[in-house]
């Protein structure tokens, strides 16, 4: 019983450490969708545009927030992971024009970081 309680507490503590990830998307610029997903970890990330012809699968957005005063402060690594997860669902080969806003406080958290990029699939 005591061990279970410790486990629950440890789980809660760990959950409060990882930043909260909020995903979003905008399909207004999308011109196609893919048939299959891609592995998020293998998706390429470019800060600018690329010269290869591509189809746009959608603009992917992410907001990462520190959960509590003891939580990990969100960084671009957390945000990129969120963008890759969303792009992987869409079957993207790459995320281009990735950019981030200024980190800081928001209504929901003391530390928040917003980012976005365009999920594309090479032709």
């Amino acid at each position: 019983m005591r061990g279970a309680g410790t486990l629950v507490l440890a789980g809660l503590w760990l959950a409060s450490c990882t930043p909260e990830v909020n995903l979003g998307a905008d399909l207004s610029q999308a011109n196609a969708r893919a048939q299959f997903q891609t592995a998020p970890g293998a998706i390429l990330v470019y800060p600018g545009d690329v010269d290869q012809p591509y189809d746009v699968l959608g603009d992917v957005e992410v907001i990462v927030r520190q959960r509590s005063a003891f939580g990990v402060e969100p960084n671009t690594g957390h945000a990129l992971r969120g963008l890759r997860v969303q792009a992987g669902r869409l079957g993207a080969h790459a995320i281009i024009m990735v950019s981030f806003g200024q980190p800081g406080a928001s209504l929901w958290s003391y530390h928040e970081l917003r980012g976005h990029g365009r999920a594309i699939r090479f032709r």
Binding site: L23, L27, Q37, D51, Q86, A94, L107, R114, G115, F122
Partner: protein
Amino acid sequence: MRSASASRAAAALLAAACAVASACGATSPPPLPPRRVAFAAQDPAHPAPPAPRPPDIARAAEPPIVHERYFGWILAADLVSLAPLVRWMGRPEDIYLAAPSLLLPPVIHTLYGEPGNAALSLTLRAAMVGAVYLAGRSAEEECEDSESYICIPVGSFLLADAAIVLVVVTDAVFLARTTRELDAWHRLPVVPSVSLTPDGRPALTLGGHF
């Protein structure tokens, strides 16, 4: 409820509240440019090396997900239903006065497709209504025993206030959130893709509208 104008209004409300607070330092990145339609023509004799691309996995693509908050609707429902609830403290026989506060927010959760959150919200609100009832009875007893001309049952009011604030904030901040898929994705044309079958053979997939 899920219209784009509603979400824009919520975002504008949030931005306005944030501006008033003037403590919000987090900014959004610059907007993305329109989709590029023209690409530089390649010399067929010297084609550029193809960009590396991750392989497809054997799992169908899915619509993008969007995490949303709908705290505005919960707060609006509470704004409407709090006056009858407070009135109910003095008239406990009129049980219908407590009904909006008990039921409106769970109905909103259900409309957003979150039955689990609706059940949790109903439980919290039942406890809140119970605490408000007890506070009302406690206030009556406090004032019956009082010999002063004006009776202000501070302790009972504080108990009711704490119960209401705790539940309303918990509901609006922690429960009023949902994850949905963008339906517009299904209307986009499918691009041809090459993938590997389970036995390792390449498969070409084409899609289109007919």
